[in-house]
């Protein structure tokens, strides 16, 4: 009893939490009036959840996420255009290329801490951006990588799933999103994930009890890079092209804003952040040309007054209603 109170309940791969999340997200195409938005929300949501492995769980504010996202997107685009491999294989490769970029950028950046670390990730993202921007023959440069096909997905020989309609593509992304989310949540609640939390909380003590914190940070980067690269691959399929903005620093800040707005304290926060940001920008951009200003004010408000983000607010209200409920360690 004391153990459960102190450490929380053991989580199985598929439990009520996951089913609720999967169910709610599955409703998106029927709830939202915008046709292609639900898939986009899940793609950005996956990027934001992956980013939160670094920010929320390891305490690393990485501005390099777009490099992982963009490299995954370009890889998927290029493979579909030139080689036409099976999309499943290409998406796994886009995760791997994201992980490779994360390994290199992460390794070089974690040699420093604090603001120097942040600036390094930012600088490397700029480097990746200019590489994509300049290398016109491969990436299409400023025009983007055009005419990426979205092939059908052959599951078994002779059995193909079409990904052409918005709903079909959404369901495809939904399956990958939920699968990735389950895996990421398992990693977060594994001994490895707990050590990341310890490093966020007190790196010196983590080191003093025997953890090689540099190595753990690097592995956190690689995992985050894998799922961010996967999200990038989905983005290329979604857009049927790769705009150079996919690897732009602004995409990194998108993930940061979504995560902070939704809340860094859980894996659900970034998903809510992606949902709210994308829906709000859809609605606001139709109302007012300077809609980003409103989003900015909301963001500043949350950072100043609601550090736990929307999810934190939700949890606080929930606990008020169910006071006396045992709070799980985050």
């Amino acid at each position: 009893m004391l153990i459960e109170k102190s450490l929380g309940k053991k989580k199985s791969l598929l439990d009520r939490e996951i089913l609720i999340l999967a169910g709610l997200l599955l409703l998106l195409p029927w709830v939202l009036p915008f046709k292609s938005l639900p898939a986009e929300i899940l793609i950005y949501g996956l990027g934001a959840v992956s980013f939160n492995i670094l920010l929320g769980y390891t305490g690393l504010l990485s501005f390099g996420q777009a490099a992982f996202f963009g490299s995954g997107a370009y890889l998927t685009g290029l493979f579909l255009i030139h080689w036409g491999w099976h999309p499943a294989l290409i998406l796994i490769l886009s995760g791997i290329v994201g992980a490779l970029f994360a390994a290199v950028i992460g390794f070089l950046s974690i040699q420093q801490v604090g603001i120097y670390f942040v600036m390094l990730t930012l600088a490397f993202n700029q480097l990746a951006f200019f590489l994509a921007y300049q290398w016109k023959t491969v990436t299409g440069g400023d025009d983007g990588l055009m005419n990426v096909p979205r092939p059908d997905f052959s599951l078994l020989p002779g059995f193909k799933i079409s990904l052409q309609s918005n709903l079909e593509f959404f369901l495809f992304v939904w399956v990958i999103f939920i699968g990735s989310f389950i895996l990421i949540r398992r990693i977060i609640y594994s001994p490895f994930g707990r050590i990341l939390l310890a490093i966020r909380d007190n790196p010196n003590r983590a080191r003093a009890v025997g953890y090689n914190i540099t190595l753990y940070k690097l592995v956190a980067f690689i995992i985050s890079g894998f799922f961010t690269g996967l999200a990038g691959g989905l983005f290329a399929l979604f857009m049927k092209m790769v705009p150079v903005t996919a690897i732009d620093l602004l995409t990194s800040t998108d993930f940061i804003i979504m995560t902070l707005l939704g809340g860094t304290g859980s894996l659900y926060g970034p998903v809510i952040g992606a949902l709210v940001t994308k829906v709000a920008s859809e609605i606001l951009s139709e109302l007012w040309a300077r809609w980003l200003f409103i989003l900015g004010v909301i963001f500043v408000g949350f950072v100043l007054f609601m550090r736990g983000g929307i999810w934190g607010l939700f949890v606080a209200i929930w606990n008020k209603f169910k006071s006396g409920r045992v709070k799980e360690p985050s």
């Binding site: 309940k9 053991k10 310890a198 909380d201 592995v219 360690p329």
Partner: protein
């Protein structure tokens, strides 16, 4: 020999913080290091655990050279430490603090795909340590919410978590109220019975009651090493540090 230092020296710019210290700690003994503030005690500790690289000299643990190793490597070969300033995982529960400290020694590296609560050894070990330190009843509280005294106790628990061969305690009673100090002294006496420890401490009552050997540091140098009664009678020690105290 559990631990041995050879001419261990640390120079910070013009300040010679630790000056050619030779220390020998035998297995099963409690070795206290005393000395006025600024004598170099904590710097000496930090060189043993790799937090600070020595300017000169070497450290041997069980006759293997450990100076030059990183703090996490030294922690893993069997030296546990507490800090003078509380250094805890404040946002995690007390049990989770100790479980984390025990985990790597019992289960090793990089488990990604199983829930951490299915690893029972570190949980059992954490409970055992908390019971010994007498804060098991606080297991579900966040470390940052504890009283100072309980946080100091958790500091000691983190040093013990991996069941290390050698335990370094840096002023376990620092900043404690008189009541808390009495409790901590009783606790450390209990722990001292079956362990090898190096303790930095200002509380002379504690030092004299637990120590097998006492080393006195003064301005970075060892001015005396001996049993409590030898140190109590040492004229130079009395002059430099102890004032009128007689054990």
């Amino acid at each position: 020999m559990m631990l041995r230092t050879v001419d261990l020296t640390k120079q910070f710019g013009g300040l010679l913080a630790v000056d050619r210290v030779n220390l020998e700690v035998r297995e099963g003994t409690i070795h206290s290091i005393i000395g006025p503030n600024g004598a170099g005690k904590t710097t000496f500790f930090n060189m043993l655990t790799g937090e600070i690289p020595p300017t000169q000299g070497e450290v041997f643990f069980q006759e293997k050279k450990i100076s030059g190793l990183k703090p996490y490597q030294i922690a893993r070969i069997g030296i546990g430490r507490s800090f003078q300033q509380n250094s805890l995982f404040k946002n995690l529960t007390v049990l989770e603090n100790v479980r984390l400290a025990a985990h790597i020694h019992l289960e090793g590296h990089f488990h990604f795909l199983r829930d951490f609560r299915s690893f029972h050894l570190p949980i059992d070990q954490a409970q055992k340590v908390l019971e010994e330190i007498e804060i098991l009843d606080l297991a579900d509280r966040k470390a940052g919410e504890l009283s100072h005294g309980a946080q100091r106790a958790l500091e000691v628990a983190l040093a013990l978590a991996a069941d290390p061969a050698l335990i370094l305690l840096d002023e376990p009673t620092s900043g404690m109220s008189p009541d808390e100090t009495i409790k901590m002294i009783r606790l450390i006496k209990k722990l001292a019975k079956q362990r090898t420890m190096i303790v930095i401490e200002h509380n002379m009552n504690l030092v004299w009651s637990i120590s097998t050997v006492i080393t006195v540091l003064h301005q970075g140098q060892v001015i005396a090493t001996g049993t409590p009664s030898e140190i109590g009678d040492h004229p130079e020690v009395r002059k430099a540090y102890l004032g009128g105290y007689s054990g």
